[in-house]
Amino acid sequence: MTDLATYNFAYLDEQTKRMIRRAILKAIAIPGYQVPFASREMPMPYGWGTGGVQVTASIIGPEDVLKVIDQGADDTTNAVSIRAFFQKVANVAVTTHTSDATIIQTRHRIPEQKLGENQVLVYQVPIPEPLRFLEPRETETRKMHALEEYGLMHVKLYEDIAHNGRISKTYAYPVKVDGRYVMDPSPTPKFDNPKMHMSDALQLFGAGREKRIYAVPPYTEVVSLDFEDYPFEIQKFEQDCALCGAHGVYLDEVVLDDKGGRMFVCSDTDHCEDRREHGHVGEMLAPSKEAAE
């Protein structure tokens, strides 16, 4: 026997993939609804994206091109190891270019570049249940979803405003999908919530430890919860990216020295590189711009 024969394509056996695909189909049919599935042991610990990995493993084919990001970067340990895993067990092409990918697995961000119909975004989800924080009983949260009793979600937002003067939640900001199910977009920054709305790409969410899969099919309404007098708004960044000059993108703060020096750069590293390749320059890379003028 060859080495390859010890693995099935994409690690999971076909039976398991069929089971997960059925869960995915059901999730697509009921946007935002959490479908239970028999999550398998994966050769990586929970918290390392086992839910997303199982979803990706079930939908990936030999022709696919895979991109994996953690925060917005392709080069973190988590992203690198998941990418390497699929290279090994599925022998698929991988990329860091958003536009070249057919499947993008992410732990937080949605790429800045608009996704298309030929792309699938797979989210790694730690806690899929948006009602969990105030209602720990699973039987009760299930009932609340079934009966569309979502008052608690606003109780949480109310508390936020009462204590902070505004809705201070910046990650995992709850949304209502297709006017029916309230969904936790997981650790995605709320900056990216608007990108989920009417997306051309299929969005799949996998929670390994919690054994849940849910989905937002293409062109589905995704509305962030809010109050009339405290409307949802995304983070606004004053600065432009120091490297590529991009404005209106999600920025990470980078500490430069121990004297308080810092800069803000694109969290989406591929987006930043792509812009620089196309001649865009930020403040940091054009230090003498003013002097030259």
Binding site: L134, K143, G151, V155, Y158, F227, D229
Partner: protein
Amino acid sequence: MTDTPLLKVSGVSKFYGSRIGCKDVNFELWPGEVLAIVGESGSGKTTLLNCLSTRLMPTAGSVEYRMRDGNFRDLYHMSEAERRFLMRTDWGFVHQNPADGLRMTVSAGANVGERLMAIGDRHYGKIRETASDWLSRVEISTDRIDDQPRAFSGGMRQRLQIARNLVTGPRLVFMDEPTGGLDVSVQARLLDLLRGLVNDLGLAAIVVTHDLAVARLLSHRMMVMKDGHVIEHGLTDRVLDDPREPYTQLFVSSILQV
């Protein structure tokens, strides 16, 4: 009071296996009327209250409730969604232990506002204003609006639980020993408050208590239970001043002498 009852209870029985919880209970409740259910420990008061409020499914019997549209609905044949909607809009349920009826880890304001948000209120400022208004009505200083009930005394918690229930303007409130866990002085103040609210709002209420003083102060009518059966039923003053059943006579004299 109108000439149509709010609640029609017929033949309600609940068995726990072979043990009787309550047996063959029949009565009608009119809008704005307060009914006290009294009896010693284990007589079936809580069982009956839970059956009436659909928190418990009875073994037999029916309870019909007149909805806001004037039509009677059999509570046990409603869908769970309808029942739960009724419970958080047109009904209230005040637990003996406030922790059972409150969210202890969210602010007083959110506790009161929850029902409003549940029925679709989406204006923070208005929800807060209503919550604040209700806090003053139950004599909780409005500067406590952002405090959690964990930081409240027993009496305050109970008053908060009442505000949380009344904010949607229910027509019927169930209460299980509402003053039960409180100091005597605190009990008196709460009773006063409850009596005022019930009168002002024209609420119908079913109050379970083993304290005849509570029944005397709050209720128009009372039912005396023993071993799961209603053994006497009548206007509160009549039952307390002129009890007919020997058991009631004993019960009344033993307690009123204290």
